[in-house]
């Protein structure tokens, strides 16, 4: 047991909350597609990787709560993505076409955001706005604030994920 030693002593900390939520979501992912791993093509693998990644981000945002703009944006995006995926699940039978249409939608959205950004922001701030979720709607001052919190959370996230991976690869 590495985690109890490493984990901070303060109860209900961000780290422990994130670990809890993330492990639950990992469990859920594992239960959702138990048979898909046997037929492991490269695309399937990447898809599952993306799912784990999204789960990590979402569980971090859930651990933070809704008091931060970036976590709100992450949760909102995840929810909308799920909704779209569910809608598309009903329509399309083939997975390839689903992926393509999703990709197209995402691209369109990004283009629109780019146009908006180019009008009122400059160089580095624009890059930062793209990196921080929900950063498109912030002014520079808020963006820096959110960036600081986001970096802290990312550091925690990476640490926890690494410790979990170490624990299981043993």
């Amino acid at each position: 047991m590495k985690n109890p030693q490493r984990s901070p002593t303060n109860p209900g900390s961000l780290r422990s909350r994130f670990t809890q939520v993330f492990l639950q979501s990992l469990l859920r992912i594992r239960k959702h597609n138990p048979t898909s791993s046997s037929s492991s093509s490269h695309g399937e693998f990447l898809k599952r990787c993306r799912r784990v990644k999204v789960a990590a981000y979402v569980s971090m945002a859930r651990a933070v709560g809704t008091r931060r703009a970036w976590s709100r944006a992450t949760l909102w995006r995840a929810r909308n993505g799920e909704r779209q995926r569910n809608l598309l699940y009903g329509r399309c039978s083939k997975s390839n076409s689903r992926e393509r249409s999703l990709g197209k939608r995402k691209r369109k959205k990004k283009k629109k955001k780019k146009r908006d950004n180019e009008e009122h922001s400059f160089g580095h701030a624009k890059k930062l706005q793209k990196l921080v979720p929900g950063g498109e709607a912030m002014d520079f001052c808020c963006l820096l604030d959110e960036t600081a919190h986001y970096i802290k959370c990312l550091i925690t996230q990476v640490k926890v994920m690494r410790s979990i991976a170490d624990f299981y690869s043993l």
Binding site: R28, K31, H124
Partner: protein, 277 residues
Amino acid sequence: MDPPIVNESSFSAANPSSYSLAEIWPFNGEPGNGGLGLRMGNLSGFLDGQMNRDGSAEVSTVTEQSGGGGIGRKRKDVSSEDESSKMVSTSSADDLNMSNGKRIKSLVSRHDNGGSRAEGESSSAAGDKQAGQIAKPSEPPKKDYIHVRARRGQATDSHSLAERARREKISERMKFLQDLVPGCNKVIGKALILDEIINYIQSLQNQVEFLSMKLEAVNSRMNIDPTIDGFPAKDLGGQPFDATGVMHASQAARQYSQGSQSEWLHMQLGGGFERPM
């Protein structure tokens, strides 16, 4: 400020005590000295008038301070200035002063009604000094977290003050970020600092991506194992146990006792298995 007007006013309305003194004197004094008493009354009245004139002169100087050259009194509240102006307008019967007081009052009320508009007026009307001086001291209580320290040659209108406060806030947050991002302390310049921050975030996100791949591999590998799939006894127990291990350190003291923790664990495990079915 004309002395005769002040005298008249003091005799007529402002100082009734002089009259009463003049009236009381002849009654109290000897009948032979009636004229003297009258004269005395006149004298006292005159003295009172003079004193009153002195008082009014003082008041007028006060008004000049508050109205004309009150740079040192900037930090005083609006209320005190308002009071002083009211006092002036009531005590001295001077028409000019009265009008001044009225103007001050009206300006104050306008300022109170529409804050930023009054400031704009004050900045636009350069000739009207009083409005500017009243508008400025009311600014600090509005945004009390802004330390207005306009040095020599710095602009003092509201926009540039707000801009300066914003810049200070940004630089403060930049400093905080600099402390957060490793290796960012040595970098000088806003653009380079932002570059470092962006690189750091990207590297962290890449790490998350890599770790999610790793975790996925671990997850699926454990999934392949038939024993684990069939029986959630040993190895699968590791995962929630891991979670509870973390929680044990953090939350056990608060929510779960040692005994109830394992029960809770089983409950959670059961829930996790029932859900996908």
